[in-house]
Each structure stands twice: as C-alpha cells, then as structure tokens.
Symmetry: C2
Subunit: 193 residues, 2 copies
Amino acid sequence: MIYDLLIENITKNRAVSIAEAEKFCSFFSAKTISKREFLLKQGEFCKFEAFVTEGCFRVFSLDKKGNENTLYFAAKDWWLMDIDSFMNHKPSDLNIQALEDSKILIISQEDKTTLYNELPIAEKFFRIMFQKSIVAWQRRVVRNNSLTAKERYYYFTTRYPEIVLKLTDRQMASYLGITHEFLSKIKKQDKIQ
Amino acid sequence: MIYDLLIENITKNRAVSIAEAEKFCSFFSAKTISKREFLLKQGEFCKFEAFVTEGCFRVFSLDKKGNENTLYFAAKDWWLMDIDSFMNHKPSDLNIQALEDSKILIISQEDKTTLYNELPIAEKFFRIMFQKSIVAWQRRVVRNNSLTAKERYYYFTTRYPEIVLKLTDRQMASYLGITHEFLSKIKKQDKIQ
DNA sequence: AAAAATTGTTGAACAAGTTCAACACGATTA
DNA sequence: TAATCGTGTTGAACTTGTTCAACAATTTTT
C-alpha cells in the first residue's frame, strides 16, 4: 500500500493508534515527479508539505554570487518542505528538484491546518520531528566549522552511501560547501593513497 | 512580575488564554546564574529547559582538535536547551555558560512531560518555536557556506549589536567559525577604510 | 598592590580552498 | 549521425584563512 512507509514513519517510537494513523494518511495524496522536474521554485509560495516514498530530491538556494547552495537531499522516508515559506506565507528562497523519477505523498496548506485541528497527535508528531531536525542542523553547523572539506566528504559518503550514488559531483560539492573542482582533487588524492 | 517576559513570548502571535498562559508559567521556577557559571557541561545529562529573562549565555561544544565551537548565544527572551540530550536521555555534547550574571526560568524534564500532557497548547507552541528555529539554522548553514568571514562578521555585528557588546573576540570568532587572530585582522582592515 | 591568567594585536610562513581556462568524456537533443 | 550541452579532471596563479610566536593591555585572583 502506498501509505505503508508513511504509517511506519509516524508510528515509529510513538503511541499512535491504527485509527489515528489512518486518519493522518487520509490527508495525503500520492503524486509522481519526473527526473529534473521542480516541485518548488525560488519565488513561488510553498503551499504543501511532502513525504518521499520513492526517488530522491535536492533542496537548494541560489546566493547573490549565483552559486547553488544545497541545503539537503531527501530520499525515501524523508520529509520535504520549505518551512519558512509555508509557515510565513512568503515567497520561497528554495528550489526543490527531483534527482530521479520520484513519488511523494503530499498535503496542502489548508489540509495541514485541518490535520492539526482534528488530530492532536499530529502536533506532537511534528513537534518531535522538528526537534530531531534541529539536532541534525546543529551538528551540520559544527561539522562545517570544525572539519576540513576532506573530512566532510568522508563523513557524507560513509553516512549516506545510497544518496551519493544518485548525485553528480557538482551536487555533492554544493552540499559540502566547496567547489566541484576541489571535490575532484579530494577524490584524486583519495585514490592515490 | 518575573513571568511577564515568558507570557509575552508564549502569547505573541498565538491565541493563548490568560488561564493557559498562567498554567504554562506555573511549571517554571526562577533561578539565578553567576557570570562564568555553567548551566550544563559536556558529558552531563541535560534535564531541563530554560528561558532567559536577564543576562546572556553561550552554548558551545569542544571538537576533537580542542577548539571551541559556539552554536549560539542566548540573551533575554531566548530559550536555552540541549534538545538532543534532553530528548534522547543521553550525555550532552554541549556546554552552556553564563557570560554575565543572569536569570532564567527553568522547567525540569518531568514537568515538561506533564506540561505537554496537561496543556495541549504547549505542543503547538513548541512545535511552532522549533519550526522557527529550523529556519534560522538553515539560514546559518547557507551563510556559513556562501559568505566570507568578513561578510559573516558584518552580518552578525549588525544583526545582534547588543549581544556583541557582551562578547570577547574569541567567543565571537568561535561563533563565526574563524580564529580569533583572523577576526582581529578583519577588525583592523575595517578601521582603516 | 602584586602576581597570574586571559585577552587582543601583529607579522611571517604556511595550508586550504578558489578561480579560470583548457580538455576529454558521456549523455541528450536536433 | 552530428551537434550540443553538462560533467569530471587537471594545472597554475591566486585568495582566504590558519598557525605559531611574541608582545602589550586588561582582567582576575591572591
């Protein structure tokens, strides 16, 4: 069933009844996205939140110098959203693009409000999910400040080997915060030793 | 009243009744922390969350090379916690130290659970607070990757001028992700022009 | 008030990462 | 099939930021 993965995601480590899980899922509908297609473009209003059931996405922004900055990749079992645009009803700074043919479960802004109102456990679920997310972002900041590019490259490739397979070097470099030329040099060094 | 600032913080932009706000506050007790005192040390279990009503704190970790990495500063009206240690009941990676004589409102781990159970609006309040926090962390990652040290210095000093006054250069440098020597050189360059 | 410790400054040598340009390769597209 | 475009690689020159050491100025402790 298309909701299996989402049900597992929301019930994992939490006391959620079958009825609650089913109600939760009823707010989401399935959607297919082709490779290279954009789910969201900078400047648009983000009026959805989504859960990835198949494929992979890249979330990135463009800075003033025109460089791409990859915030994160979202493969199966990850959530996709622009919290800022969604929460504050403002144009998005982010682009969300499919790296391969993908499938998501999507909820609209209005339905998300209804979900919170009708299913109190949803507040707890997302509250905990956001807490975990903050921990991950804090660790990312510390890694970016305290590790060299080479160390960050090792961390990323050993931590997310399945995602690495789906990326070009340019996409990975924009996540690591280095140029793709320098990433190429890191990889070369690596092979020699 | 000592709860005034907390009440303003939780009611701002949200429909919270006076009764709810008062109940919320009843879980918190006032505490005084002296300059240089640690509210939490790396290795300890973080069994509290706190709201700063006076003074300023620094939250930092030590990496393998022995360098301090400042995650954030928390002045009046900010929340202080180690989400990871608190949520996952594990030893903390973080140090929380008062930069000056300070006052906080503090809630214990048990009371936080009770608060969530007895006051459903608390789930919504913290869910929204955490969402805002994620947006801030995402922006920090983008700034760290796309701005030079000098640009980050400008951003920080113009965005948080009151906090800057309370910091040594070393503390600011550890937040910006540079050495204090280099910060000193940035400041010198700055004066000349 | 003296001693000790921490802080900020500066310089010189160095390391990490960028920029730009050139080229080879593979994948789309016409 | 040819043409085009994006990708990965490499080198040389350059910029940004680090490291280490020395010193002066403050702050803290005794």
